[in-house]
Each structure stands twice: as structure tokens, then as C-alpha cells.
Amino acid sequence: MSESSVADGAGMASRHAVLHILNKPPGHARTHLCLATLAATDALVLIEDAVLALASGLDTSAAVYALGPDLAARGLAADNGQTGVIVIDYEELVALAAGADKTVSW
């Protein structure tokens, strides 16, 4: 897996092997399936209801991104105390999806 960096203004994102995009809330069977297939070298993007995981806790060694507008909508602060979570906007989500080797929408 290449680690070639896609530099951008937001200082995000080395290139990840698989970009997992999750929109299901914590506790959903699909969330468990996503986490079961998430490699440490992959990245996880939380969108829609999946950002609620920042309130309930998330245990993974993969890079985690969360979509800012969905956090704001649900009254959650930037990273809600979860260390290492990178808050992104739609532009940065596009850049991540464009730069990934492979994407999976869960």
C-alpha cells in the first residue's frame, strides 16, 4: 500500500488503502460489519447518523474523519472529546474519496 501523501490546504490525509464511509448509527449491525473489516491502515469517515459514534465512543486504530455539517446538525462539538478525529467538510470528503485506492459505502 502506498503512503504517498496528497498534500492539501487542510493538512489532511495520507492516502489510505480503503476509505470506509459509514452512515449508520452506533449499535447498528452495519456499524459492526464496517468495524470488523476496517484495517489499521484504512480510514473511516463518519457521515450522517454515524457521527453519533463520537458521543458514544469509538474504538479503532484506523484514521477517523467526521463530516462537520452532520456533527453540527446533531449538536456535537468538533471532535466531541475523541482524540485524533479529524473534522472535514464536503470538499475534504471529496478529496478523500478521490484519493483513496478503494472506497466502501456502509
Binding site: V6, A7, D8, G9, I21, N23, K24, P25, H28, R30, I47, E48, D49, P69, D89, Y90, E91, L93, V94, A95, A97, A98, G99, A100, T103, S105
Partner: protein, 140 residues
């Protein structure tokens, strides 16, 4: 903004408007992708996502009409927009051709949306750089 080289996306929407967030997330993504210089090869509506193609959508005036927003966007950007014909027929979404074929007296799918088969999706799978899915939320 980004050094990512341009790619082509196909966006598959499987969540219905006013039932899920899928059409909104997909449209925000699509607008951001276009402004970053990426191509959108096709929008493919599948499963409950086909409801987005209904031209009979009557949203309250203080809510977003997702059908109209999407229609305007894909017409402006000249993006092919396809609703899966098998998903659509079962859910009561027909264009004029299918209305004639099935002897129905009305239709609710018109350009820029078209009814075509899953072959369009297979074509996207083989030709687009990325195929992303915008799905129903947890309640479905």
C-alpha cells in the same frame, strides 16, 4: 485547494428523500466534487432512491424540494441521471413510455431523469474511477 488529481465519480442513491438523508448528502458531495474539478459520470437511483425521480413531489414551501434541487443540478451539469427501471416500476414511478407499455393513465418520471436497467450501473462499475453509495440511515 487539493492536489488530488481529477477522477470520475458515479453516485448511487438508495435512500429516499424525506425518509433518509441520502439525497442531501449526495447533492452536497456532488456540488463539492464538481467545484473541485472532478467529473460525475452518472447518478443512479436504486431501491427506495428512485423516489427522488418523482416529478409529483410536493414538498412544503419551507422545506427543500429535493426532486427539484437534483433536477436542476443534473440539468445544469448535464449529468446522466438514471432510475433503475425494475425498482421504479414496483414503486409506481413510470415515464411516458412505460405508462403506455403498462397501460397506465399518468406518468411521473421525465427528463432529466430516465428509466433504464442495471446495465447502466454495471457500466459505471467498469468505467468510473469511484462508485459511491448514498444509503438509507439506520432506521431502514
Amino acid at each position: 485547494m487539493s492536489a488530488v488529481k481529477p477522477v470520475s465519480f458515479t453516485l448511487v442513491i438508495t435512500g429516499a428523500p424525506y425518509v433518509s438523508q441520502a439525497p442531501q448528502t449526495a447533492l452536497s458531495f456532488a456540488r463539492a466534487a464538481v467545484s473541485a474539478g472532478h467529473a460525475i459520470d452518472r447518478v443512479f437511483l436504486y431501491g427506495d432512491g428512485v423516489h427522488l425521480a418523482s416529478s409529483l413531489c410536493c414538498a412544503p414551501s419551507d422545506e427543500v424540494n429535493w426532486h427539484r434541487e437534483w433536477s436542476d443540478f443534473i440539468a445544469q451539469q448535464q449529468i446522466p441521471a438514471v432510475a433503475c427501471i425494475a425498482s421504479a416500476l414496483r414503486r409506481g414511478l413510470v415515464d411516458d413510455g412505460e405508462a403506455r407499455r403498462y397501460e397506465r393513465d399518468a406518468h411521473n418520471v421525465q427528463p432529466p431523469f430516465r428509466l433504464l436497467g442495471l446495465g447502466e450501473w454495471v457500466e459505471s462499475m467498469t468505467s468510473s474511477s469511484r462508485v459511491l453509495y448514498f444509503q438509507p440511515g439506520g432506521g431502514h
